[in-house]
Amino acid sequence: MAEASSSTAEAVVVIRGLEKSYGSVRALRSLSLELAPGPTGLLGPNGAGKTTLIKLLLGLLRPDAGHATIAGCDPTTASGRLALRRSVGYMPENECSIPGLTGLEIVSTLGQLTGLTRADSLSRAHEVLDYVGIDEARYRLADEWSAGMKQRLKLAQALVHDPGLLLLDEPTSGLDPKGRRHMLDLIHDLGHVQHKSLLLCSHLLPDIERTCRDVVVLKEGAVALAGGIAELTRTDGIRVRVEVGGDRARFEQALAASGYACTPEVNGRIAIRLDGRASDADELFALAADSGASLRSIEEVRSSLEQVFVAGVANEERT
């Protein structure tokens, strides 16, 4: 589970008081965070510091203050940087390719740069290209590939050395719906079936919701919200939707008199917040009976991640 400023023994990423400024702009403000193994989404509006955080984790930037370890390595030292880049696979957001090489050669060359032998890198390149679904096109110059294939190539190169931790920056960027589904399937497979740790940076909340177990929301360089997606969205589980038969108006009045906040919905349903009350619905059934109404159905309402994100970023009370 992603947690801000709490201790987790097996955390793959530990960040303590990380700060980074570009001139007068503070990209990260004393950021503290721990990421447990597993798929984690990194959310935040533009300028929240997501890309800066990834660059700091890879050792491409030096922090102004604070400390981070990733996969047990310190990215601020040369030896730590080299070691962590063997343990981490990075899929950049921007389009990238090595000029003049085929897809197979690109993946194989990058495998060798990471420490694979020539023979291993070649066989491994074939395996990961198979995995991401690039067939004969692997023998063509990658410069000529479509955007979707280039995106899959970026994932393949991140996987060539079989890293335990993957940093994926906007992996579905520029993909058509079919390509996006395929990419999300691959990421889900990596996170939930292959049990790789992922840090998925995306603006697309459904992508995170579909592929990640935990989420970290950054706002103005600090953690606005962090935790398991199931727990975060369940915080609105105390909101229920009931389908009412009988005297609906009296039931609503009875709810209001009892201090429940309720919102009428279509098809005769009512959304009711159970803030601070028992999550069982006995009291609702009693109120309905007293007001001459009947409850035909009752269901828990889960907020979407988008609601959680908006609440976290805007610091507003969720309704």
Binding site: E95, C96, I98, G100, L113, G115, L116, H161, Q194
Partner: protein, 302 residues
């Protein structure tokens, strides 16, 4: 979710090594990428190859003709002394052939280095290859070493290989390998000069490449650098009637060094060769300073 039998993730069962010479893979990839397009190879390496054949033939012919000299029946110097003097002349002429080869081919070899060096960093930046490299255990020095080796490879083929071929022909054409015995030092000097030439121009070319996003712009800039410095130095030398102004041109300094290393004729270049070395060293140091600064930024922008 994986759907077909090929789309199954296979964990890697081997081991990842800490490869200190990992940058060689990048150099190999650079050479492989550059050699995929055959037409530039033919066009760029054609003239040096033809020149190598011609110069080699001339060297061979000189020794062959000298070996066929017969003593005059009317007396004069002894045949042995005639042959010895003749061979001594040939040795000097072979030295000059190699020197002249470098002069004659300097523009072509420069073209080779410019063509293969101009895109090495510019194209990486344009296509975002640096994003992939610097997420790997590849240091900035390793990246630069790989790029430098790539340009050195092509420069070496254009400059070092022809000189070596001519020396080898001279060795086998001279009787009892006399060339090897009398002028053997010319072989390492040829290699050294060729490497120096390719290294210096390769460094300049990479520095120019790091300043641009497109290979074509880097090519134009490199020719501008060559033409402008050479033109200014020649004009000033002629106007001021002072050949030391030729030192403003990297090309002229390399020619001065070539003359010194290969015992070639001075050709208007009478200044102390140490000045030329100082200028070449200064320009190369500046090129590497630019390279390190630009690659540092490149890594941070990854």
């Amino acid at each position: 979710m994986a759907r077909t039998n090929t789309e199954v993730y296979r964990p890697f069962r081997g081991t990842l090594g800490a490869r200190t010479l990992g940058f060689l893979a990048l150099a190999r990839a650079g050479i492989a990428a550059a050699t995929k397009r055959k037409l530039p190879l033919v066009i760029l390496f054609g003239p040096p190859a033809i020149a190598t054949v011609i110069f080699s033939f001339v060297v061979y012919a000189r020794f062959a003709l000298e070996a066929g000299v017969t003593p005059s029946p009317l007396g004069g110097p002894s045949p042995a002394s005639m042959i010895a003097v003749g061979f001594a002349k040939q040795m000097i002429q072979v030295r000059e052939e190699i020197f002249m080869f470098h002069l004659a081919m300097s523009l072509f070899t420069l073209l080779v280095i410019a063509w293969f060096g101009a895109g090495l960093i510019a194209d990486d930046r344009r296509l975002g290859a640096h994003l992939l490299y610097f997420a790997r255990p590849l240091s900035r020095s390793g990246y630069l070493a790989a790029k430098f080796l790539t340009v050195l490879f092509f420069g070496g083929i254009a400059v070092v290989a022809p000189g070596l071929v001519i020396c080898i022909v001279a060795t086998f054409a001279s009787p009892d390998f006399a060339f090897l015995r009398d002028e053997g030092s010319l072989i390492p000097r040829t290699i050294l000069f060729g490497t120096l030439w390719a290294g210096v121009w390769g460094s300049v070319m990479l520095a120019i490449s790091s300043l641009f996003l497109r290979k074509t712009l880097a090519l134009v800039a490199s020719f501008a650098f060559f033409m402008i410095t050479t033109a200014i130095s020649v004009v000033l030398a002629n106007l001021q009637q002072d050949d030391r102004f030729l030192m403003l041109s990297l090309q002229m300094n390399m020619q001065r060094i070539a003359g010194w290393m290969l015992d070639g004729p001075s050709m208007r270049m009478h200044w102390d060769v140490r000045w030329s070395f100082a200028v070449v060293l200064g320009i190369t140091a500046a090129a590497w300073a630019i390279l390190f600064a630009r690659v540092r930024r490149l890594e941070a922008s990854a």
